[in-house]
Symmetry: C2
Subunit: 193 residues, 2 copies
Amino acid sequence: MHEPLIQNIKELVILNEAEVDLVEEAFKPITLKKKQFLLQKGEPSNHMRFIAAGCLKLFEIDKAGREYILQFGIKGWWMNDLYAYLSLKPVTYFIQAIVDSVVLQIHRDRLNELFNEIHMLDRFFRIKTQNGYVALQERTIHSMSQTAEERYYNFVKRYRIMEQQIPQYMIASYLGITPEHLSTIRKNMGSRL
Amino acid sequence: MHEPLIQNIKELVILNEAEVDLVEEAFKPITLKKKQFLLQKGEPSNHMRFIAAGCLKLFEIDKAGREYILQFGIKGWWMNDLYAYLSLKPVTYFIQAIVDSVVLQIHRDRLNELFNEIHMLDRFFRIKTQNGYVALQERTIHSMSQTAEERYYNFVKRYRIMEQQIPQYMIASYLGITPEHLSTIRKNMGSRL
DNA sequence: CGTCTATTTGAATGTACTCAAAAGCGGTGG
DNA sequence: CCACCGCTTTTGAGTACATTCAAATAGACG
């Protein structure tokens, strides 16, 4: 169960066996059924979270009730309302399982202890966050410079694995367009998919 | 000259005097005239950069020659093509001074050494990047859920200090709209500014 | 099956863009 | 110190991309 987590960490930093044990012990599994919430607006976010299996979405709902998806996550990804986690404030986003999922999570207090017990963890999260930042920056550029069709095409090309377990209207939300429009785009793209 | 840098670090982690000296020694100042480039597409980005004075922009130019501004930076901000810095690949973005500026920079190799000499630096950059990620996430949400007028209004409200030294067409680029459209928005907003 | 949810289709509308041109503004040289 | 030049901002007309709203069709699941 902790396999993918340990592997994920070891991709970036070195851990000895004792440290692996510490990490495995600290991260507790949570199983989620499809559509179940991991985090709801207003709750505190006291855990750092790693997806061991399944697929989840991180999203906001505005006053008009519209849903905006910030991020999808599959096995091997980290997912959190980072702002709420860091600031100790109530979360402003929701996290919900798209399919049955397993999440490994560690409490902030325990993780902060671990940062002192395993210096390399600071580094791990620094690099992880830097990578996440870079990816988000790219997404920002694309949302400004590309048409909806280009963004959809790139999404499919890049996240083919995800795309198959995610309903179309969620992808539309992620791309910042309406489901109707995405449908039209797909029709026009036709064979190019 | 290194004052704002040290202060910036000490806001998040504790440094002793020896460590302060190490940091001050490692970061070298660069002065830039208005419109001068700090980084041009194709170059490597071998330094981590802190703005000690002035104002700069980080932007991309697409094939059509259109400019997309990812980020403005003023005194106390960090600025880099993080992807290029981390991957050692040539930069895909430009960094250019909007007004006369001073940047403090440290070479990647020296910074990596410092990470081992000053463990708290790992933590500092982890937290910095996390904060940056959170801010970028918010921008992403807003670019999806808000109209151009709302985005402009929020930009002015939030970055009043910046807004005064930045020409309007650059703000338009940052907001993902045309200068003409921003002009129209300003006219319609009228007194509400 | 039948029901609920997701996707498609189409018409009318709106927001932002393109292109073109005029007006404003700031710096520089005569 | 004013006139001119280049760059920024404004204005307006026509257009394009994406949205809203409504309704029909298709798919998934009990």
